[in-house]
């Protein structure tokens, strides 16, 4: 089949070249520019330096990095905690029509313009908005509390944005799950919750892992959400990168920060894919032993 691999080469070539030039190579540039000094017109200076990396020891950064990290973790945890029961419910819904409708309802906000979703939250949490009035009326919060421009607003909108990201991969696996296994466990005396925990959750673990990746990684890079619904005390790494680019135009510094964020992206990516390979190997071994 020599001919086939030849055509294959040509099929793959254009996209390969494109992605190397416009995706892989730029990432390399980011890593390299972190070792360059800035020049006075907002460009990149000549020569190599470690000064830019030293500037990362800015005293305000540890708090920002920590906040990026925990907000990412919390929003991922909440999204998964919500997505699992939804996927369970969806895959147990016997009416195909109802199932598709609910799925569609979950997907629509996901495809709605990102800025419009953020805008909707700014309206919803607005100090003059109906929701605020309602909360004050029932006495949950005093009149002086602002709902916008704090880290709770950021967290809420992040969760709002990423819920569909978590539901889709988990549901894709859950849909194929064999629910008779749970019935069997119950017939053998297991409680519903026990069967859910010991049979359903391991059964959909692949979907859960995918969901963790597709929520956690973009969450680490969140920039627009904290920028538009957060205040000065809820900035994340993404905001700092954007500020270095657009406010004080220090591209090497922005590269150094981006390199840091890249670590946060690629380390979990590689870790999870290694973990999965290891699991698959073990599974194959176990099957072979049988």
């Amino acid at each position: 089949m020599k001919k086939s691999s030849f055509t294959n080469f040509f099929l793959g070539l254009p996209s390969f070249v494109w992605l190397v030039v416009f995706y892989a190579f730029p990432i390399l540039i980011v890593l390299l520019l972190a070792f360059r000094p800035p020049d006075s017109n907002g460009g990149i200076g000549t020569g190599w330096t470690l000064q830019t990396l030293r500037e990362l020891r800015n005293p305000s950064y540890p708090a920002i990095i920590w906040r990026t990290f925990w907000q990412g973790l919390v929003s991922t945890a909440v999204c998964i905690a919500v997505a699992v029961p939804i996927s369970y419910q969806l895959s147990r819904t016997s009416s195909q029509k109802l199932r598709n409708t609910i799925l569609l309802l979950i997907i629509v906000p996901f495809w709605t313009n990102f800025l419009i979703r953020i805008y909707a939250w700014r309206i919803f949490l607005h100090p003059e908005g109906a929701f605020k009035h309602l909360l004050v009326l029932i006495g949950v919060i005093p009149e002086s509390t602002g709902l916008l421009y704090n880290q709770w607003a950021v967290l809420t909108v992040m969760i709002y944005t990423y819920i569909p990201f978590a539901v889709l991969p988990i549901y894709a696996i859950s849909e194929k799950f064999d629910f008779s296994l749970m019935e069997a466990a119950k017939d053998l005396g297991a409680s519903s919750f026990y069967a859910f925990r010991k049979i359903y959750l391991p059964g959909i673990s692949k979907g859960i892992w995918t969901a963790v990746m597709v929520v956690l990684i973009p969450a680490f890079g969140a920039y627009l959400i904290p920028d538009l619904v957060g205040g000065s005390t809820s900035e994340l790494i993404g905001d700092k990168i954007a500020q270095r680019v657009f406010v004080d135009r220090n591209l090497p510094h922005a590269s150094a920060l981006s390199a840091l964020l890249m670590l946060g992206v690629f380390v979990p990516l590689i870790l999870v894919s290694c973990l999965r390979k290891f699991q698959l190997k073990n599974q194959k071994k176990a099957e072979f032993m049988k």
Binding site: S5, N8, F9, L11, G12, P14, S15, F16, W18, L19, F22, Y23, A24, P26, I27, I29, V30, G43, I44, P85, I86, Q89, L90, I102, L103, L104, L105, I107, V108, P109, W111, T112, N113, L115, I116, I118, Y119, A120, R122, I123, F124, E128, G129, F131, H133, Y160, I163, E183, K186, I217, P218, F220, G221, Y223, L228, G238, A242, S258, L261, V265
Partner: protein, 279 residues
């Protein structure tokens, strides 16, 4: 199905309903506000369509819309072409090279927008400063950030989505059909146009619709690689949100929501056809 509803916990139903409420409450509030005559959303002062009228009269919005659509059409065309080709290559290849290629196509799906944006900005800035003067002396064109750089960036991030959707479709397709065609003496090209393409076409169209939606939607990457005067709808929305009166945005949001609903509905229909025709 057996009757077993009575043994079920109500919790998953409750969570599903609450999540839907959470997802739609802010959007519904905006829709209501878009018909409110009052400039500030707090109090209802009567039904009005004036925000919609203002929307259609706004020069800036029409300008931003034309740019957005121009970028979206061009980048959808190229990303669909490149993405479909790469899906075909991925589906057929079996060598060691595949893992690298796979990573190259799949990682852009998870890499945060801001990293893609800044890395492309730095690529353009360094290339322009390295060979900008040379390029101008040879071709007479000044290299600068603008529509071209936006389109290049959009093609890059849309491609992977198209590849993913088409590959999904390819994996469900019965490969023995292609072998049968070969056995009957069909050439490679003939088989591609008469067997493979008709099967993957819904996937290709769905991929193109995804690419189109993503391109229209993108703010972060565009913001990094755009030139000084370029506006797209998301850029317009962001700048209006930061300064100026956003009441007009309510109406814009509603129109966007309706369009998204139609787009998503069509895509879903296309992708779910497979269950009816192939199973």
């Amino acid at each position: 199905m057996k009757k077993r509803c009575n043994r079920h916990s109500r919790l998953p139903v409750a969570i599903t309903l609450l999540t839907l409420l959470f997802l739609y409450l802010p959007l519904v509030m905006v829709a209501i506000a878009s018909f409110n005559a009052s400039k500030y959303g707090g109090v209802w002062t009567g039904f009005s369509l004036k925000w919609y009228k203002a929307l259609f009269k706004s020069r800036e919005i029409w300008n931003a819309l034309t740019n957005t659509l121009f970028i979206a059409f061009i980048s959808t065309f190229f990303s669909t072409l490149l993405g479909t080709l790469s899906a075909l290559a991925l589906y057929r290849s079996k060598n060691r090279f595949k893992a690298i290629y796979h990573a190259l196509i799949y990682t852009p799906l998870v890499v945060p927008d801001i990293l893609m944006g800044i890395s492309m900005l730095l690529l353009f800035v360094t290339t322009f400063s390295a060979c900008g003067t040379w390029f101008q002396s040879v071709f007479g064109i000044e290299l600068e950030l603008g529509m071209t750089t936006i389109i290049i960036a959009h093609i890059t991030f849309c491609m992977s989505y198209v590849a993913m959707v088409v590959l999904g479709r390819l994996q469900e397709f019965d490969h023995s059909l292609v072998e049968a065609a070969y056995d009957l003496g069909a050439s490679g090209l003939y088989t591609f146009f008469h067997v493979t393409l008709p099967v993957i076409l819904p996937g290709v169209i769905a991929g193109a619709l995804f690419a189109f939606t993503l391109s229209i939607d993108d703010f972060v990457i565009t913001f990094f690689v755009k030139g000084a005067g370029d506006t797209t709808l998301p850029i317009y929305i962001q700048s209006t949100m930061r300064h100026g009166s956003p009441a007009i945005l309510n109406a814009l949001s509603v129109i966007f929501l309706i369009l998204t609903f139609i787009l998503v509905f069509t895509t879903q229909k296309l992708l779910s056809n497979k269950t009816e025709t192939h199973k």
